[in-house]
């Protein structure tokens, strides 16, 4: 896997903090570290190793990107948003069942995106576009995916 390791990411986050990264980036990094730990649990399901790897490769950069591409251009986030991320992290840290961990590998990034504002559905900037798209109905327009649209009142 390309997770990198929990301790390495923690160190990376602390170094980043020392160089003055935004509060938003710190919070996103905490989420990314928790996501990596969740992936370590999930990958113990041998039959799903490939799927777990694919999920992590897709979503981990997107979670980190939530810290570097603030929707409003501001570096700070509200106390409520930070608490939401930390509560979400606490929730996934309770998971002991690796099968449930796989379910949360798909759910957690979107919960974090709702808290921080942003999108984890598109590849992060550093990612190569890839993965076969399912055919059939056309995917909605990007703004149709956006939690922002929903939170602005769209049902």
């Amino acid at each position: 896997m390309t997770c990198g390791g929990k301790h390495g990411s923690l160190l990376q986050g602390r170094i980043g903090y020392a160089w003055g990264v935004t509060e938003r980036a710190q919070v996103a990094e905490r989420a990314a570290v928790a996501y990596e730990a969740l992936a370590e649990l999930a990958e113990t399901v041998e039959d799903e190793w490939q799927y777990v790897t694919d999920l992590v490769d897709a979503y981990l950069p997107s979670i980190r990107a939530l810290g570097t591409t603030p929707a409003g251009g501001a570096g700070s986030i509200s106390p409520e948003a930070e608490a939401a991320v930390d509560e979400s992290i606490a929730e996934i840290e309770l998971i002991a069942d690796p099968h449930k961990a796989i379910d949360w590998l798909s759910t957690f990034p979107h919960v974090i995106a709702l808290a921080l504002g942003g999108d984890v559905d598109a590849p992060a900037a550093a990612e190569e576009p890839g993965g076969a798209a399912a055919t059939g109905d056309s995917p909605p327009e990007p703004d149709e995916y956006s939690p922002f649209r929903v939170l602005r009142g769209g049902r």
Binding site: L94, W104, A132, T135
Partner: protein, 222 residues
């Protein structure tokens, strides 16, 4: 091709009891009018470890916090309460409840545009052995039949499901019937696409309806 009620084995009888639980209908009814954010709330809560509503309110402040519009917050609170009831049924039962919720939600949304929605139906073709598993939801309108398989998560997408859907579509085409086949997954489209990208089963003509766009089921034009 023709539709037929599925024969009920012991498992189906037990599952029918869950499908008929008013809690399933309540969650599905709330989800039918939910925002995408509320759908993520429902997925998280019904997959969650904690059953304390205060914790979930802190995780979803934009939906359940004091800053959320009152009407929207009330709807989200109702959804939270219903989903927590599912979560409180325990690990074994909640899995069945979640599946039943996705099926009920799918049927409700389809019923907004068609009066021909049915549940647990098989599709039969002359000279072709019948599939063992029924389709979760069907639309049996003349000339425009549709079949849907419903999954709680992207992990439910597997070769057996995809093959059954595509076989039904291909056999229908042999009968000059354009059968619309789709898989409805209450999970992220991106995760579903990752799952599908690794599948060797044919799915080019199988539609994917994921959590973010599930309301599209109620729209005419598929």
């Amino acid at each position: 091709m023709r539709f037929q009620d599925a024969a009920r084995d012991a498992r189906a009888v037990v599952y029918a009891g869950i499908q008929a639980d008013p809690l399933v209908a309540r969650v599905a009814s709330l989800l039918a009018d939910a925002t995408v954010g509320e759908r993520w709330l429902a997925r998280a809560v019904m997959n969650g470890e904690r059953t304390d509503p205060a914790g979930w309110r802190r995780i979803f402040p934009t939906l359940l916090g004091v800053a959320a519009p009152a009407e929207a917050r009330d709807h989200a609170e109702q959804l939270l309460a219903a989903c927590l009831q599912v979560a409180n049924r325990g690990e074994q039962a909640r899995s069945s409840y979640r599946g039943a919720v996705v099926e009920d939600l799918t049927a409700r949304l389809l019923a907004r545009r068609s009066a021909s929605v049915r549940r647990e139906r098989r599709v039969l073709f002359d000279g072709v052995p019948a599939e063992i598993h029924p389709y979760d939801v069907t639309v049996e309108a003349d000339g425009k039949p549709e079949v849907y398989d419903c999954k709680w998560g992207a992990r439910g997408i597997n070769a057996d499901v995809l093959n059954q859907l595509d076989d039904a579509r291909a056999h229908s085409a042999d009968d000059d019937v354009a059968l619309h086949v789709a898989i409805v997954v209450f999970d992220a489209r991106r995760s579903c696409e990752l799952r599908l990208s690794r599948s060797t089963a044919r799915h080019d003509d199988t539609a994917l309806v994921a959590l973010e766009g599930i309301e599209s089921l109620s729209k005419v034009g598929r």
